[in-house]
């Protein structure tokens, strides 16, 4: 009991997860760099807030358990390049982003064409429907 280290608010977890903001054009290059460094692709996810898509690509290190997240902010109309060409693990994540959020991703190696999730609604967590309609009305 006595010699155990004081537990701080999980310092280690906090130190080991970093978020790095990069422009969309640098995504492929950065991902390739991280892959060459021997990091493992952990996950990719999208979030829609403040009228923008915030994409997070996380890579993690086996030894140090470090997690480095690349943050790309794009507008809903913008297209982004798929990273599946050299990171096959990203396939399902990118398909998920596409189906659930409606992020426009081009050149996915195995585009499941809205078949990964069998749901009726198109992009349920993406741009809210009312806004879309308004945009259409305005356009």
């Amino acid at each position: 009991m006595d010699e155990t280290v004081e537990l701080k608010t999980n310092d280690k977890v906090r130190q080991l997860s970093k978020i790095e903001e990069i422009p969309a054009s640098d995504l492929l290059e950065r991902c390739l760099e991280l892959k060459r460094e021997g990091l493992r692709f952990s996950q990719a996810c999208a979030a829609y807030y403040e009228d923008k898509f915030h994409l997070t690509y996380t890579f993690s290190n086996y030894e140090t358990l470090e997690a480095l997240s690349l943050r790309v902010v794009i507008s809903p109309e913008e297209e982004i390049h798929s990273i599946t060409e050299f990171i096959p693990a990203a396939l399902f994540y990118e398909n998920e982003m596409k189906e659930i959020f409606g992020v426009k991703i081009k050149l996915i190696t195995n585009d499941l064409d809205n078949k990964l999730y069998r749901i009726n609604v198109e992009a349920p967590l993406g741009v809210p429907q009312e806004e879309k309609k308004e945009e259409e009305n305005n356009g």
Binding site: L7, K8, N10, K12, L16, L91, F92, R118
Partner: protein
């Protein structure tokens, strides 16, 4: 080249009651390719975040999965605690560790039973589930429910494990350990089990790395990736080493999970011994979270990933739960290439699929 045909597997299949669908492209009896599709029961839990405040979300996130529910709740709470900079009392941290390991034990025992069932060893299946029942009783004793604990709150835990209960846990665990020895012998040395598992479904270390597989599935291929080493909850006080195997086959996956059962028992013993006398269970939390955080938690099935983005209101902008099965599906499809059609059911099971939990 033989004639190719496509055989659908699932979403309703005797080997597992979970809705995953695979289109198996077969040549004679050999699987050439497997194309998965999930989402038959997509629940949209992540979407609920806009309607329920962050405290209520604890109970919703927890219900992502019926098997590893505690760890989902814990992962979510730790994420929000990091955003709000809340210090959880030591006792709560160790209690979380105990519950997390009990959860892992029940999940692995469930899996071992299902595995025995998948290769047709009914008797062993019931034996595993009988042991699991004891762990479930411990759940109900300590948390009040057999599967979904609902003991996590943001800032700590809601219930305490008092000394009587600690004693019951320790007694039950020694019984469980004794009974595990019996099934261990069968799983490790029995002829029928070995002939069904050895050399089946090999996935090399390089492939596991490339496809980003996690958990016991990755550890069975020699990658010592165990997120408990991140020292979330009370794991910084616990002494343990990840269990790995270099065999890369189904037998190795079974070996890793069985050994992890003993490891969990050991961790619970250590955690109970280290429970501090201070009985504070939670830190009061005030205000709303603002910021974002990425948290990873080692679940029975592997690394689960939580990402929360808060904006200063009670409603979060986004909560992302990446379940371990989602990461392992890519590995599964790779593993299924060039296997016998008869092994598919077993191999789908060896990644310990929790499809319903993938369908957040």
């Amino acid at each position: 080249m033989g004639k190719r045909s496509v055989i659908p597997f699932g979403p309703q299949h005797p080997v597992l009651p979970e809705p995953i669908h695979l289109d198996l492209v077969v040549e004679d009896e050999r699987v050439i390719e497997a194309i998965p599709s999930i989402g038959f029961i997509h629940r949209g839990l992540e979407g609920l975040v806009k309607k329920k405040d962050y405290n209520t979300m604890t109970y919703i996130v927890e219900r992502t999965c019926g098997i590893c529910s505690f760890q989902h709740g814990m992962g979510y709470c730790e994420t929000i605690e990091h955003i709000m900079d809340v210090e959880v009392p030591d006792r709560a941290k160790l209690l979380r560790t105990i519950w997390a390991e009990l959860n892992r034990m029940h999940s692995h025992l469930l899996w071992l039973g299902l595995l025995a069932d998948a290769f047709g060893f009914e008797n062993l299946f019931y034996q595993c589930w009988r042991i699991r029942e004891k762990v479930l009783d411990l759940h109900e004793l300590t948390a009040g429910a057999r599967l979904i604990f609902s003991v996590n709150t943001i800032g700590g835990v809601k219930r305490d494990i008092d000394e009587d209960k600690q004693r019951t846990i320790l007694e039950t665990l020694s019984e469980v350990e004794k009974e595990l020895k019996v099934i261990e012998k069968t799983f490790f040395y029995d002829y029928t089990v070995e002939s069904r598992l050895k050399g089946v479904g090999i996935l090399s270390k390089e492939k596991v790395h490339e496809l980003g597989c996690v958990g016991p599935f990755a550890r069975a291929s020699g990658l010592a990736v165990d997120l408990r080493k991140l020292e979330y909850a009370g794991y910084s006080k616990i002494d343990f080493e990840p269990i790995t195997s270099n065999d890369c086959d189904s037998y190795a996956r079974c070996y890793v999970r069985l050994k992890e059962l003993y490891q969990s028992i050991d961790i619970i013993r250590q955690a109970i011994a280290k429970l501090p006398a201070d009985k504070t269970l939670s830190t009061p939390v005030k205000g709303n979270p603002n910021g974002e955080f990425i948290m990873r938690v080692e679940q029975p099935r592997g690394e689960a990933f939580y990402y929360a983005k808060a904006n200063g209101t009670p409603y979060l902008d986004r909560i992302r739960v990446r379940t371990p099965t989602f990461a392992n599906i890519a590995g599964l499809c790779e593993m299924l290439k060039n296997t016998e059609l008869a092994d598919v059911g077993l191999l789908v099971l060896t990644i310990d699929p929790c499809i319903s939990c993938t369908e957040r």
